[in-house]
């Protein structure tokens, strides 16, 4: 409670203790946190874990933390994903954030930091945060300063049907883009739909362009393009050209332009029912495939997005994102303690085992049981570079324009140059 003297809430609470009769204070929703007269600190924890089993597991963890720290009360505020996003935008505008809040890192967190609303955790978390999975910490680090602690991490890669690959005579998954195009041709030759794609939702299409951009232009170029609001880098145009090469092979399922992701006739179901050989999707793909389709069981495999010959990026650079927690500027020490508790091996092991998250503490890897998840984890562990999901890294208008333009490229109505021009235009206007 080192900052207590500085915070307005602390002052008000002290006034109350001094007998100024401000008992009504605890009734004011927004101001109910902070230290009270008997020395207990109430901290607000805003998260988006509204679904089971995560909801129950997290509530249990909160109880455990309170038992270990009798002077601290946790007040959990849970909001559904989209509601949370808009609520946080409003809170950012008003200049008051909750003590502990969910963050995806990237552009939004950056905005909050620039507004001076987020606590710099670099020194206060150093002793224990150094041991966390390096790639998982990336979204929350700006100018070498740490502003958030991850609890989950994931990445996009190719999920493939081993049986269909065997049928087409592909013995090992491709590691280069030309090898990938060859594999697509081999699958086509056997009358197998190579790729399932949800064209109606656009974001699954964006993954292809984003990965190709990382492989050709490199992660640094994507960052620079966003900073300069200029996406005309030749490498980014090339990404579109490589994608066009793929589209020309007509690798997608019939009617993919109208397909959703998780509906019974969508991308995940097409893949899960064995009607397509591959999909480019995040670590959650096996669950959704089994949920909306039959699921592939042991026939499902994972391989990283291939490298592009002559490109600046490597096959070991990953495109993904996760979840983390950040603290408001001036949050009490108890909030930092909680972050430490939440990133401990014991907690992470529980999260890995019960809530289907990937470990961010190396010791929690023993909680993994599924070979595919282990493959994803190995890729994350060996990652040499990291690019956050573009819609989280960029402002909403730019992120949507990327989705929209790439979708138009795949539908054949925009050229690779027009894609970069449209994104540049959106970035300049946003």
């Amino acid at each position: 409670m080192g900052d207590r003297a500085l915070s307005r809430r602390g002052f008000l609470a002290a006034s109350a203790a001094a007998g100024l009769g401000m008992t009504a204070l605890s009734g004011c929703g927004g101001d109910s946190n902070g230290s009270s007269a008997d020395g207990t600190t109430t901290i607000e924890w805003w998260n988006i874990s509204t679904t089971e089993p995560t909801k129950t597991v997290w509530a249990g963890l909160a109880k455990k933390f309170e038992a270990q720290n009798p002077k601290v009360k946790l007040k959990i505020v849970q909001l559904e994903n989209d509601a949370y996003k808009s609520k946080m935008t409003a809170l950012t505008a008003s200049g008051k954030l909750p003590d502990i809040f969910h963050t995806w890192g990237g552009g939004v967190l950056r905005q909050q930091i620039d507004a001076g609303l987020v606590e710099d955790l670099t020194d206060r978390t150093k002793p224990w945060a150094d041991g966390l999975l390096s790639v998982a910490k990336q979204p929350y680090i700006f100018d070498k300063k740490v502003y958030g602690i991850p609890f989950d991490i994931g990445m996009i890669g190719f999920w493939y049907n081993k049986a269909l690959f065997r049928q087409a005579g592909i013995s090992t998954p491709p590691t280069t883009w030309s090898g990938f195009l060859d594999a697509v041709k081999k699958l086509k030759a056997k009358n197998i739909t190579p790729i399932a794609l949800a064209g109606k939702e656009k974001w699954p299409e964006m993954y292809y362009w984003a990965y190709l951009a990382m492989r050709t232009a490199g992660i640094a170029a994507l960052q620079k393009a966003s900073d300069d609001k200029d996406f005309s880098d030749p490498g980014l145009v090339q990404a579109g050209q490589h994608l066009q090469d793929l589209v020309k092979l007509q690798p997608f399922q019939k009617g993919f332009l109208g397909a959703s992701y998780s509906t019974p006739t969508g991308q995940a179901a097409t893949m899960g029912n064995g009607k397509a050989a591959m999909e480019l999707m995040g670590q959650w793909a096996p669950v959704v495939e089994a949920d909306s389709g039959k699921g592939l069981g042991s026939n499902l495999g994972f391989f990283p997005f291939p490298a592009v010959e002559g490109g600046k990026g490597a096959i070991t650079e990953v495109f993904g994102g996760g979840g983390g927690h950040a603290l408001r500027k001036g949050a009490p020490q108890a909030a930092v303690d909680f972050l430490k508790f939440f990133a401990s091996e014991a907690t992470d092991l529980e999260l890995v085992r019960k809530t289907n998250t990937l470990p961010i503490v190396p010791g929690a890897e023993k909680g993994l049981s599924d070979p595919n998840t282990e493959a994803v984890q190995a890729q994350l562990k060996g990652a040499t570079g990291f690019q956050l999901y573009l819609d989280q890294a960029y402002a909403p208008a730019v992120g949507q324009e990327v989705n929209d333009s790439v979708s138009a490229l795949i539908a054949g109505s925009k050229s690779p140059e027009q894609v970069t021009q449209s994104i540049t235009k959106a970035a300049k206007e946003a």
Binding site: T89, K200, K202, F256, G258, T263, T265, E401, S407, A411
Partner: protein
């Protein structure tokens, strides 16, 4: 009417100081005032709600349309009419306007005549006609969202009911990608719209047909008029007021079309089924370019307003005479 129960100065039971001399003139003025206040009192709650929830937001949208505004805090980045000039240079929005016209045209040429034909058919003596009427009206009762989900399954390429049925009757070749094909998405969408809305227009026409006196048709029959002549010269002119209202509702509905499109295609593939309302939603709630989205809503409002006023002025004039255009009723 209420004045008999209201205490006034003549009875001396009111709270107002009693006047020694009864002055009927002043009493009437006071009664009128009380009546007026009563009327206002009853209207205030509705007026407050209407102003607060309808009028002010509309005016605010008009205001926001002149700003570059992300939707949080107050708009501050004034950019004049940039949003509007941008809008009319945007291929997607110009496409929206074209698709709107297309839907209006198709509705007037295909959907409403079809509804009229069904109404005339079901106005005959027919075994089980109540059942038919109910069946045809049922789709209108379904919500747009449910209709959307239903038809995205029906028209799922290969696996959907539509392709199965076409395949079963040996027409598998004409089944295609339906909503997933940029060239056919509007046709498929119009098919669903017709399925959903023709029953509503059919009901309107049926009600109109019921109100046509049978004597007129009989008289025409005696005069030797054939079925087409009876329809053309008796039924159609007398049904005209209903037709005019139905056209009005259909056009306004086409301009504002959103739910069905959003659920089925989200405007895709590649914007080929996008409507003005969908574009507005994309910009307002996906891209958080609320100023630009407001400009779209203002244009939509303008189109609806101009159409509604012109339609009332030139088409509905006769139907509305004595109702809204002339309160004295001497224009009839």
């Amino acid at each position: 009417m209420t004045s008999t129960f209201l205490p006034d100065e003549r009875t001396g039971t009111g709270l107002a100081p009693t006047s020694p001399v009864a002055r009927p003139g002043r009493g009437r003025a006071r009664r009128r005032l009380v009546n007026w206040l009563t009327a206002v009192g009853f209207q205030v709650p509705a007026l407050v709600l209407f102003i607060g929830l309808v009028l002010l937001p509309m005016l605010f949208a008009l205001y926001a349309a002149f700003f570059r505004w992300g939707g949080f805090g107050m708009p501050s980045d004034y950019i004049g009419t940039d949003n509007f000039t941008q809008l009319f240079k945007d291929d997607v929005f110009l496409g929206d306007l074209w698709r709107c016209l297309l839907l209006v045209g198709l509705s007037l040429v295909l959907q409403l005549p079809f509804a009229l034909a069904m109404a005339v058919a079901l106005n005959q003596r027919l075994r089980g006609r109540a059942v038919y009427r109910m069946l045809f009206f049922a789709p209108y009762v379904l919500s747009e969202a449910i209709t959307g989900v239903l038809f995205s399954m029906v028209f799922a390429p290969d696996d959907g009911l539509a392709d199965h049925v076409l395949g079963a009757v040996g027409l598998g070749g004409i089944g295609g990608e339906w909503f997933a094909d940029p060239s056919y998405v509007m046709a498929t969408l119009f098919l669903v719209m017709t399925w959903k809305y023709f029953g509503f227009h059919m009901m309107l026409y049926l009600a109109g047909l019921q109100s046509i006196p049978a004597e007129l048709t009989e008289a025409a029959l005696i005069d030797g008029a054939g079925p087409w002549q009876r329809f053309r010269n008796v039924t159609l002119p007398l049904l005209a007021p209903t037709l005019r209202i139905s056209v009005f509702l259909s056009v306004i509905g086409s301009i504002q079309l959103f739910d069905l499109v959003w659920v089925i295609t989200q405007g895709g593939p590649d914007h080929h089924s996008e409507t003005m309302a969908v574009t507005m939603f994309q910009y307002g709630f996906k891209r958080y370019q609320v100023g630009y989205a407001s400009a779209i809503s203002v244009v939509m409002f303008g189109i609806c307003l101009v159409f509604a006023l012109a339609y009332q002025r030139f088409v509905l004039r006769r139907d509305l005479e004595g109702a809204t255009t002339n309160m004295r009723g001497d224009g009839a």
